[in-house]
Subunit: 254 residues, 2 copies
């Protein structure tokens, strides 16, 4: 097993931030500054073209850590953040830029490329989770949540299907084509975020992905607005979702 | 103007309950027992076949009063609670029971009968709101919310379209046929609750009603489950929705 190496530590706003690596993969672990003991872990997947410390990640982490008392971990996806790109990565990124420049739908490229990235990312996540569970403040027995939209869903759905340690998940903002079959294997509680006026993802495609989850408890949160206009209150909702399902008590920031 | 007459008062669980009448219409006003001063008012509409103190009403009121510091008022709909039924009421209720006994869809009867009830109920609600706003702890300037599912939506959508004092609303669990045109006039923030596996309301009909609202901020909460299985956490979500839009601070019960 690859062990976790801490490479840096800082603290602000009630949150301790520790950089780490597991093998070649860099990650970050945020924890309550109050020095909380053992607490459940929430894994977060970042979106395409961003990285583990993108503002959406630090913002959601802050809510989860200070509002729910969770540990929160993010790793850089393959080809993202400081990680090297393969020739295939470069080719797909170029294809995406070409589609955008031509005003063509980016869905086909994103769906295909993210399915490829998920194949590389799932074993990396599982190795990171193995290593994180060696830490005394996390442990191997606690429940684990997963929170990722966009590419974070493209990677998170196959991860949750493959790894029974994940017991609750927030997904959303993705097409159904590459994920619906895998979603049918997922029975853990799911909160699913969709943008009602998404200019990239057809409404029917997002609804079809939500419909595919086999979870007995699943909730769709569809908000008016375009692809990038997910309201911030959905992050607060995710804190409460994980608090309900991972056994923490949320404090309000409504 | 018809004035409000208090007819009874009791107190429990952090909540003062005052029965009242406005003209012939009986209602109930719940307020914080802590003797809070002026606070925003949330009107709640009950479902078909129930009344102002049905458990769903008292439960939601308790969350709104103790979790959000609101005043909460419900009036009995025409033909409901202790109110007399007209010959037409009896005829439609008989039609509903016949449809149920025959295993036929109840939607056509409910849609038609509730549209009729809404015509009678909207002026009653407006008179009740006039009278409630005379109370010093409510006042005429404060924002007003509306929360009603099922028949509470059939009445609430035309009420919100007719009365600009209502500035935020939680609706849901209803067909689109009789309401979609009116919903197109509604621009206040809306949270809309839908049951994904509703055995009475086709999924497409509920989605079409959500789609019809002209609100720039609207959120669909669709939960797995049948018509009557709306999860209790949706009541907590409504408290936070009203806290955001009516300017209160919610305390968590997640």
């Amino acid at each position: 097993m690859q062990s976790l190496k801490f490479t840096g530590e800082s603290s602000s706003n009630g949150m301790v931030e520790r950089d780490f690596t597991v093998g070649e993969v860099p990650g970050v672990l945020w924890s309550p500054a109050s020095g909380a003991g053992r607490a459940p872990l929430v894994l977060m997947g970042h979106g395409g073209g961003t990285h583990k410390k993108w503002p959406a990640m630090t913002g959601r982490a802050h809510r989860l850590v200070t509002g729910g008392g969770f540990h929160v971990a993010v790793i850089d996806a393959p080809g993202h953040g400081g990680r090297p790109r393969t020739a295939y990565d470069e080719q797909e990124i170029a294809a995406l830029y070409r589609a955008r420049a031509a005003g063509e739908p980016e869905g086909p490229v994103v769906v295909r490329y993210n399915a490829h990235l998920a194949e590389r990312a799932v074993p990396e996540w599982q190795a990171a989770l193995d290593a994180l569970q060696e830490l005394p403040e996390i442990g191997a027995e606690g429940p684990v949540g997963y929170f990722g939209l966009n590419m974070g869903t493209a990677i998170g759905v196959p991860l949750a299907a493959a790894d029974p340690r994940i017991t609750a998940a927030v997904f959303g903002i993705f097409w159904h084509e590459s994920l619906a079959e895998t979603a049918k294997q997922i029975t853990i509680p799911v909160e699913f975020v969709l943008q009602w006026d998404d200019e990239h993802i057809p409404r029917e495609s997002g609804l079809a992905l939500f419909d595919a989850f086999a979870a007995k408890e699943k909730t769709l949160h569809a908000n008016a607005g375009t692809h990038k206009e997910v309201p911030r209150f959905e992050a607060d909702s995710a804190v409460r979702f994980f608090a309900r399902h991972l056994g923490q008590r949320a404090t309000s920031s409504a």
